[in-house]
């Protein structure tokens, strides 16, 4: 056991290495654009250089003259297929080649297809558009925005939560703050570029594309192309980073499929890093106003959170993080309101902890301000406001270990050594600051199917149409089968990332481990039942034993008394070569339609705030130390400690890795990441990794992840709370608090940059 493989505590699984680790580090893992395909042609996108207007004329002659050019797909060529839809499986309703209207910067205007990648790129660059350009609206402060209430605009955001009489309570509060916060535009920038490879085998379409939602895409792509979903297969065995960006399908996929059909040969289109900023989704900029009122004892009596989010003109993308911030602490009264601000931008989309990252940042920065206003230790302030039930529906938490997280992280961090006085801690020319914040993420689960086969040779084959986006879901699914079937992990093969496998929900909302493991558990238990039946049947090797006295271990069925029988022998007595089980898991509270919707690519999510019995969240606490040079004010983060409780931890290695990655991203959100929008043109300026900064190794120093034991049987059969999106929630607020502690400057607008600390 070492740092990377923490020793499991209560209710935590073994830190097995990733089953695909060797493939990945030796370059043998084939990502969708690597999958070999014969006779391939290459596509390159041409995109708009304006954000609003119409394409008056396209000049294609220069492009057509490029040697090796095969085809150009543009206006008119998509008229026989349906426009995209904005929904879980579709990023936008804009059909870029269905309509000459330009809705945003970087909108697709054509796809050039050629014999080589270079020729396609050259041709795409030579496509010249004449525009009837209009003045676009870039963002919040630009002329021409339209602001609408968000509630009801998305099935994921039904209402502005509230409780009690905020106005009265706030008016009477002894101590209060009223502050505004903002978060910038961010793009996912996964290292694996976005790509589509499409080819037709007769009337069957096969698409290789990095996807977090192969079943949803299959159905949506079939709808656009007006073909039977059974004729579409989406293949995505490995994904090189997704973070939500590969959840909804973008319009490019159907365009490439049409190009492949026209040419009668496979077409592969890899978008450039620059083009991804306009053709994919992103996290839109947000603004917040938070008011908190409390008594002198620190008890919060009034909490109001107003949010504003940018979206595109045609699509109402909402994150609405007030559902979580409104339930975070034991507020006496709650008032929330979320607005959408429409601008001439591409439609935003899911990005790791979509609601919580911006909204909890604002809440937790405000909580620190409030602790300062009260003259109270920020940890103590949170302890005082720890609720018994959530304030909106007065439901209990299925489990809530926030205070345990604070206690363990504070001890590991050495919080007691912090001098609470602002600017009091120094190390030579460096100002030292320490801060903390809460992490929260709703625990949801969705229906899922899985097929598991155990053979007489002791091999297990596990199939599930989930997605290995780097989380380790292949490993933990295998681990679940290994534990339930008593088979070593190296005898288990796990197949994922293919829409021809049993359907799994979109790999989003941190539901995969819970949903997939619950389905695998169900399939394995069905295999166990059959094995037990065979073993205990009359004449069987364990005849007379009862099922509850049996377990599976090391390829044997073991009875409580010590008797055992090899699985191999039991199968022989049963006269079968293999047992295969297809299991469909539906969570508690699922509607009668739930499984049908799973196959249709529209999985129901359950849990979070929606259940009747309780609200379900995973929690964490993060502590950060910053150092700021007294002359030049650059901010460095020498230490960060996070403690997290998330029910059953399937694998302490992959769990730590997820949380660590989240905390690193949180540091990036605090200090580095921002997409700059040129407000005159509503265009993205820093569209590459030269100027879109993310943390590098040198920015990350001492980082500690503590996995706090927690047992929660209410969340799902596997007892698992998702943690993939927990680690980066709150981090930026902890950094902002530490910056305040070091300098006395409260920075409310992210990212925190040198210029904010110079004044």
């Amino acid at each position: 056991m070492d740092t990377a493989a923490p020793r499991p505590k209560e209710n935590q699984g073994q830190p097995l290495p990733r089953v695909d680790a060797r493939l990945k580090v030796t370059g043998q893992a084939h990502y969708p654009a690597d999958l070999p395909t014969a006779n391939i042609a290459y596509g390159a996108l041409a995109t708009s250089s304006i954000a609003k207007g119409k394409v008056a004329k396209l000049h294609l002659d220069d492009a057509r003259a490029v040697p090796g050019l095969l085809d150009i797909v543009t206006y008119g060529d998509m008229d026989t297929v349906e426009k995209p839809k904005f929904a879980n499986s579709g990023s936008t309703s804009i059909g870029p080649l269905h309509d000459r209207t330009i809705f945003h910067d970087g909108q697709i205007i054509a796809l050039a297809v050629a014999e080589t990648f270079e020729a396609a790129e050259e041709a795409a660059q030579l496509i010249r558009a004449e525009y009837d350009a209009e003045t676009p609206t870039a963002s919040f402060d630009s002329p021409g925005t339209a602001t609408i209430p968000a509630a009801g605009k998305s099935p994921l955001f039904k209402e502005d939560v509230k409780a009690g009489d905020f106005d009265a309570a706030y008016k009477e509060a002894a101590v209060k703050i009223d502050a505004r916060y903002s978060t910038p535009t961010q793009h996912h920038n996964p290292i694996e570029l976005f790509s589509t490879t499409a080819f037709w085998e007769g009337d069957q379409l096969i698409v290789h594309e990095p996807s977090q939602n192969v079943t949803g895409w299959k159905v949506e792509l079939a709808r656009q192309l007006k073909i039977d979903p059974a004729k579409v297969r989406i293949v995505s065995p490995f994904i090189g980073g997704a973070f939500g960006s590969k959840g909804p399908m973008t319009p490019r996929t159907a365009i490439v499929a049409v190009a492949a059909r026209r040419l009668g040969r496979p077409v592969r289109c890899v978008t450039s890093r620059m083009q991804a900023f306009g053709t994919q989704t992103y996290r839109a900029e947000t603004r917040h106003r938070i008011r908190i009122g409390a008594g002198k004892d620190g008890r919060i009596t009034a909490f109001a959170h107003e949010g504003w989010e940018v979206t595109s003109r045609p699509d109402s993308y909402v994150v609405g993080g007030t559902s979580a911030t409104g339930r975070m602490y034991g507020y006496g009264s709650v008032l929330t309101h979320v607005s959408l601000v429409q601008a001439d931008r591409n439609t935003p989309g899911y990005m790791r902890s979509p609601p919580e990252t911006p909204y909890v940042y604002a809440l937790e920065n405000a909580m620190d301000e409030m602790a300062v206003a009260l003259g109270m230790d920020p940890v103590e302030f949170r302890r005082i406001n720890e609720p018994k039930t959530e304030p909106i529906g007065k439901k209990p938490f299925s489990s809530r270990s926030l205070i345990q997280c604070y206690d363990q992280a504070a001890e590991a961090f050495g919080w007691a050594k912090r001098d609470p006085k602002v600017g009091a801690m120094r190390d030579g020319d460096w100002l030292v600051g320490m801060g903390c914040a809460t992490a929260i993420y709703p625990t949801a689960v969705a229906p899922c199917a899985a097929r598991v086969r155990l053979t007489v040779d002791g091999d297990v084959r596990l199939q599930c149409g989930s997605h290995e986006i780097g989380t380790g879901v292949r490993t933990v699914a295998g681990q679940m089968a290994s534990e339930r079937l008593g088979v070593s992990i190296d005898r288990i093969s796990v197949e994922m990332g293919d829409s021809s496998l049993p359907p799994a929900p979109v790999s989003g909302g941190s539901i995969s481990t819970a949903s997939v493991c619950s389905a695998v558990l169900k399939a394995c238990d069905a295999i166990r039942a059959k094995l037990y039946a065979g073993a205990t049947a009359e004449g069987g090797p364990l005849a007379g034993s009862h099922n509850e006295e049996l377990d599976l271990a090391d390829g044997k069925i073991v009875a409580k008394g010590g008797a055992s029988a090899k699985v191999e022998d039991v199968l022989k007595t049963m006269q079968v070569g293999a047992i295969e089980e297809y299991a469909e898991f539906a969570p508690k509270g699922a509607t009668p339609e739930a499984l049908k919707k799973l196959y249709a690519g529209m999985p129901e999510f359950h849990g979070g705030e929606q259940d009747e019995d309780s609200v379900k969240y995973a929690f964490g606490a993060e502590f950060v130390e910053v150092r700021i040079n007294r002359y030049t004010r650059e901010i460095r983060v020498p230490r960060i400690v996070g403690a997290f409780a998330a029910g059953r931890i399937m694998n302490t290695r992959t769990a730590r890795s997820q949380l660590m990655g989240g905390m690193i991203w949180g540091i990036g959100q605090a200090l580095h990441e921002a997409t700059e929008v040129d407000s005159r043109y509503a265009r993205y300026v820093n569209r590459d990794l030269q100027d879109y900064l993310v943390p590098v190794n040198a920015d990350i120093n001492d980082l500690q992840v503590i996995l706090v034991p927690e047992v929660d049987h209410a969340v799902n059969p596997a007892g698992v709370k998702g943690l993939g999106e927990l680690g980066n929630v709150g981090t930026a607020a902890a950094v902002a608090s530490a910056v305040y502690h070091a300098t006395g400057k409260r920075i409310r607008d992210l990212p925190i940059r040198i210029e904010q600390l110079l004044v």
Binding site: D429, Y631, E634, D678, R680, R687, L693
Partner: protein, 340 residues
């Protein structure tokens, strides 16, 4: 990417001859049909983006002259062969000891992978990374003369506050050249009109109304060596680079400082600034302000004020004046406190 002819001459005169045949006297090296390539970390990138469009590349990596790949440190100073890689020079023990400002500037530049590819002469000649220059759909006077400058009223946080003009405010992003200019380095160049020495301070051109003219070089001239004289202030020198993240980012502000001290009194000071100017920027007014003074926080502050006296801020880069000053103050004090 457009097709191009690729040539690999083995001696300098042949390389010059090829370039000479395919360029004219008026051609700018960055706009000529034939262009030289060494490490390629800058040019290949810009060719892919359509920013540079040579139809003939003259690869210098096969040139045989061994001096092109050597670092020689003698009592007279240093001679860097033009093809020495950045990484090699950054790790050179004698440089670290005798010319720390040079070793620092290289170590803090780019990434390990880029330093292993990029040549020293190519590094000095690297072109701006202005976002509006890099992407061909924006107006840019440097890329397309007379087309306008999108950065001037755009997102110009990275842009220069010193040495700009109404036509261009693109920053010179290099680090090494600041160290060189502080130590009065010269470059040796060979072209069809013979060999010559150019002080590094005269190599780069401020944009004025011709931002497309970036250097004093002719299109067929090759830098063959960079020479740094042995000066008394070389040993007490450092390069301080302030940026948004700890590594692999351009300077928001940087300072190359070299001092010859008598106690805390300044006999000679050499100062160059990076991240804030359109060219490697020698801060002579700051040097003069320090001459003969006791180096402390007030005198360093006065020197920094002198260095930025003519600075012109834009909407998003005004902080660079204050940051540049503080960077210089800190660099001066840290250089004073070096143990040499």
């Amino acid at each position: 990417m457009r097709p191009f002819v690729y040539e690999q001459p083995t001696d300098i005169s042949a390389a010059v001859a090829i370039a000479s045949r395919f360029t004219t006297e008026d051609d700018q090296p960055t706009r000529a049909n034939a262009q030289f390539i060494a490490g390629g970390t800058n040019l290949a990138d810009y060719m892919k983006l359509g920013v540079a469009e040579p139809n003939r590349l003259v690869d210098l990596n096969r040139l045989k002259d061994p001096g092109l790949r050597q670092i020689r440190v003698t009592d007279e100073g240093i001679r860097f062969g033009a093809l020495v890689r950045m990484g090699e020079a950054a790790d050179h023990a004698e440089l670290k000891r005798g010319y720390p400002v040079i070793a620092d500037s290289l170590r803090l530049a780019a990434s390990g992978q880029i330093r292993n590819m990029a040549s020293l002469a190519g590094n000095v000649l690297q072109r701006t990374r202005c976002e509006y220059f890099r992407e061909t759909s924006w107006h840019c006077n440097k890329r397309v003369p007379g087309s306008g400058c999108a950065a001037m009223e755009g997102f110009n946080r990275q842009h220069a506050v010193l040495g700009g003009s109404d036509a261009c405010i693109a920053t010179y992003h290099g680090d090494f050249a600041q160290a060189l200019i502080a130590l009065d380095a010269v470059v040796r160049a060979e072209g069809s009109r013979g060999a010559r020495k150019i002080p590094l301070a005269k190599l780069h051109r401020q944009p004025r109304d011709t931002p497309e003219i970036e250097t004093d070089l002719a299109a067929d001239e090759i830098i063959t060596a960079i020479e740094v004289p042995a000066v008394p202030w070389a040993r007490r020198s450092l390069y301080l680079k302030i940026r948004d993240r700890e590594s692999y980012a351009f300077a928001l502000a940087s300072a190359a400082v070299a001092l010859d001290l008598d106690g805390d009194n300044v006999r000679e000071a050499r100062i160059a600034l990076g991240g804030v100017a359109t060219v490697p920027w020698r801060a002579k007014a700051a040097e003069e302000a320090l001459q003969g003074k006791t180096l402390d926080e007030p005198s360093a502050g006065a020197a920094a004020d002198a260095a930025f006296a003519g600075a012109e801020p834009r909407q998003h880069n005004a902080f660079k004046i204050e940051l540049g000053k503080r960077t210089l103050v800190r660099a001066l004090l840290e250089t004073r406190d070096m143990k040499v």
